[in-house]
């Protein structure tokens, strides 16, 4: 049994995609939670989906980070409930303080919508244990604000603690400047909290979870979550 909840903010637009992806891969129904609700029902994991919550007003994710449901998401995350933030969800995680750093405007100033290659740098998190460390995967990005920024001290701490989960890389797995689509510091595409239970990433695993979509590298993220939840049960 997997009890997954997806938070829906006004302006979320990948909420149903991720619901379908989780239901197809795991076979368990996914619960949708409206941003105005006071609490998330007991869940094995919570997803903050991609989109443009609150129209990206002020800063991407800034308003959503203060919406009523987020008080409970933050409390549950601090109590150990795994949370996955995809794209706008990653921005919300950073704005809410559950993950360090910020997502800034792409260095090119352009909205970028294309597949990228990523290297898995941490295969121990709740959401990545079905990948292998060093594995190169292909997932789509679709964002204008995915340029990960944190001060040098924070970046060193993240690297030292193995909390960089995904890095933009070339086909050979090298994190080169050419493979960096948005100017992110140290090619960072995704990070996690100290316990490896809160994960945020800019790429969209739910958009490539079965071969009919053109690729299935996102599937292992959902399988990882299922495996982690079953192991914890």
């Amino acid at each position: 049994m997997l009890r997954a909840s997806v938070v829906v903010f006004p302006g979320s637009n990948c909420d149903r995609d991720v619901k379908v992806a989780i239901e197809r891969v795991t076979g368990f129904p996914v619960n949708m939670v409206w941003h105005g609700d006071a609490s998330v029902p007991a869940s094995d994991l919570i997803v903050l989906p991609g989109g443009f919550s609150y129209g990206d007003y002020l800063r991407c994710g800034a308003m959503a980070a203060h919406s009523p449901i987020m008080r409970d998401v933050i409390a549950k995350a601090k109590a150990g409930t795994p949370v996955l933030g995809i794209c706008n969800g990653f921005q919300v995680l950073c704005e809410s303080g559950l993950l360090p750093g910020a997502l800034m405007r792409n260095a090119s100033l352009k909205f970028i919508c294309r597949d990228v290659t990523l290297r898995v740098d941490n295969d121990k998190t709740f959401f990545t244990k079905c990948y292998r460390k060093g594995q190169v995967v292909r997932l789509p990005i679709a964002h204008a604000e995915g340029n990960y920024f944190a001060d040098e001290e924070t970046l060193d701490r993240l690297e030292g603690d193995g909390r960089v989960v995904f890095r933009y890389c070339d086909e050979a797995g090298e994190a080169t400047p050419q493979a960096n689509p948005n100017g992110a510091q140290r090619n960072i595409a995704g990070i996690c909290d100290a316990a490896g239970r809160v994960v945020g990433l800019m790429p969209h695993p739910e958009r490539l979870f079965e071969l009919a979509l053109g690729g299935a590298d996102g599937r292992r993220m959902i399988e990882s979550a299922l495996l982690s939840a079953l192991e914890a049960a």
């Binding site: 800034m104 405007r105 260095a107 920024f149």
Partner: protein, 81 residues
């Protein structure tokens, strides 16, 4: 009371929009522009009449929502209506 709040990117934080504006100014033939940094300006009308309490409120709104301390600084001035 009115609060005029300015939010700017911290030094060392890349500002690609500022760079684009700088390039556009150069393209217009406006020379001598050494750097451009873009920020936000927000006006807030407060019911508060005490300046001390208004400061407290504005500090809180800047820290909790209006500015992101990872990348931005804020400054403000208060003006009596």
């Amino acid at each position: 009371m009115k609060a005029r709040i300015r939010i700017t990117l911290k030094n060392g934080v890349l500002d690609p929009q500022g760079k684009a504006i700088q390039n556009a100014l150069a393209a217009l033939g406006i020379s001598g522009v050494e750097d451009v940094r873009q920020g936000k300006y927000i006006e807030v009308e407060l019911a508060e009449t005490s300046e001390d309490r208004a400061k407290e409120t504005v500090e809180r709104m800047c820290k909790d929502l209006l500015a992101n301390s990872v990348i931005e600084n804020y400054a403000y001035e208060l003006q009596r209506a």
